[in-house]
Symmetry: C2
Subunit: 358 residues, 2 copies
């Protein structure tokens, strides 16, 4: 059995320190299950801009394309706030997503029982929340053409973008949504703004058509504004949510904050053919970078998602997930999820504890 | 002093019953301050579709244009779920907004002290929340051209919309935002997605430029995904939020739900020259229509916003707002905001109680 080829793009801010933990835990969990990993490092984001002049160098894309999966801790930081917009660290992320055609972004919003108190929401409303958001990631208004600036007939400057989806684009993400719902509680809620937008009407039409192939999955449609409300009013009413790129960006961050524990939420971005990208939902937290304060859990759980959805070695994923549950049960917390009676530890020590349990 | 000419568009669902309460309260409050109102009724939404074949008849637009202000309780209902999309009741609302060029939608998200317990959020997080969302209402992706459906080079159907803003459009809404912040706590947070979208880069650029004229207002910029999170994490950190049409649609509904009392939130949509539209944030609630169960407070507070922002008779507005506070203090509630120890009353009776206090 050959080693799984993993490209690691440590990126910016707390990226390198949480990557370090994830690789150690992954290696141990793999060893216990007879799986081996070969890691290769690459540049992305601000680090790539500093090191190679662009936020996603061709060499990075090439290495990723040859790999089995990509681990990406975080990009961005104040340091690059004033660079040319097209060179911003975040643009590196978009280039990488498009380059690998990872069209399906899976973002679980799960309230770990150990952390239910951390939410802004009342605990009876959040305890037991378990939502999977399936977001289209390489289309919609993020990539739609035409886009740009121009001067209009009154001589004023105008900025514009195009929100656009084709039948095929909606079909392939809809199938991911339905397949996911089928493995979960068989309820799929498709979110758009079809009372106003043609692009959402097409979305709704195609999703409904694909839904006919999934008679066992209950399909509902919701407007984005209503979804933003219902997520708050009763997050437990959702199982799987299917939505476009920008709506998914907003809803998945809202859902993440509803759980109250951004520092523990992973994500997976997958394609139909090539390697996926596995990254925490949180950002690069430049204010605490290098201080051993970061929470590595989201990164470790992203590596677990990689094992499950990218490498098809679910046993390694389970090992990592269980180790985290155990360490949380034992009362260990990083500062961001600290609460009364718990033991506060740093990033490295939490990593050691997880590694021991794996 | 001539009577203020008000067009009332009762619309659908609970619209007529809450309109009835608002007109009574408004008349009494006006009388106490020496102000008179002349009401004219018109058709909008599903009622207009049934009565005139279109969701916003020309006659309605004409009447509104001649008026001093428009009161609009609610539109829509399951009954029209299957009509041609361009005839949907909500489209009537969009036509009316565009026709009156009410480019500034003001949506307060305020937690009334009497109702703080109703939120999904912990009460220490919501008590004292007082946010004003200033949403651009007649531009952006709601109205941008080109839009529609076409067949692409692969023979697939495509749906598309254009998110577009011109300098002038951003300037005028930015001024409303800054003026509003100036009357409040002097903090304006402009929300977009300028790390991805050109239209948001233009928005940010223009808002920053206008901000130079408002040195006393602190301006910050936030990405929409982060705003959706921060609203939840710490809603009290916001004062005035300035944003585009669709982002404002999403954020204002999220903010409304954060307060926990959708049934009491009003909104104002104003132009620089003509009459404004004043409507509750909640919808037409067809499931409880005609049963005397609706909460009329949002509608009465919308009429109060009309007096303040549309007719410049703030004393009448205060009278109505104070009357509502008194009735809530006395423990009267409609079903939607009912809690232990309070007295549940119907729509009409709550109206009577408010009218008595006015
Ligand atoms: C950094 C940014 C471009 C990115 C996005 O909007 O997709 C981020 O918010 C995310 O959700 O991964
Ligand atoms: C009904 C719909 C078209 C409308 C909108 O999206 O503007 C509503 O959600 C609102 O916010 O007033």
């Amino acid at each position: 059995c050959r080693a799984h080829k993993i490209v690691v793009l440590p990126g910016d801010g707390i990226g390198p320190e949480i990557a370090d933990v994830a690789l150690r835990v992954l290696t141990s969990a793999g060893r216990a299950e007879g799986e081996e990993f070969a890691f290769e490092e690459g540049l992305i984001g601000g680090a790539a801009l500093d090191g190679a002049g662009v936020p996603c160098p061709e060499a990075t894309l090439e290495a990723c394309r040859r790999s089995d999966a990509v681990l990406l801790p975080a990009v961005g930081g104040y340091k690059w706030d004033n660079v040319d917009p097209v060179l911003r660290p975040e643009r590196g992320l978009l280039t990488l997503r498009a380059g690998l055609e990872v069209f399906a972004n899976l973002r679980p919003a799960v309230v770990l029982p150990q952390l239910a108190g951390a939410s802004s929401l009342k605990s009876e409303i959040v305890t037991g929340v378990d939502i999977m958001i399936v977001r289209e990631l390489v289309g919609g208004i993020y990539f739609g053409e035409p886009r740009g600036f121009r001067t209009n007939e009154n001589g004023e400057k105008v900025g514009y973008n195009t929100m656009i989806y084709s039948e095929k684009e909606v079909e392939r993400i809809a199938r991911v949504g339905f397949d996911m719902a089928r493995k979960r509680n068989k309820r799929l809620c498709s979110v758009g703004k079809s009372n106003v937008l043609e692009v959402s009407m097409l979305w709704m039409e195609v999703v409904s058509r694909i839904g006919e192939e999934y008679a066992d999955v209950e399909l509902t449609h919701m407007y984005i504004d209503n979804a933003a409300m219902q997520l708050l009013r009763n997050p437990k009413s959702f199982d799987t949510i299917l939505t476009g790129n920008i709506f998914g960006d907003i809803l998945s961050d809202e859902a993440a904050m509803i759980t109250g524990s951004l520092g523990v939420l992973p994500s997976a971005s997958i394609s139909n053919t090539g390697p996926g990208i596995f990254e925490p939902v949180h950002g690069s937290a430049p204010d605490i970078a290098g201080q051993d304060l970061a929470n590595p859990i989201a990164m470790v759980l992203s590596a677990a998602m990689m094992c499950r959805y990218g490498l098809n070695i679910p046993k390694v994923a389970e090992r990592m997930e269980n180790a985290i549950a155990l360490v949380l049960d034992q009362g260990y917390r990083t500062g961001d999820i600290m609460s009364d009676g718990m033991t506060q530890v740093g990033c490295k020590q939490l990593g050691d504890l997880i590694q021991e349990q794996v």
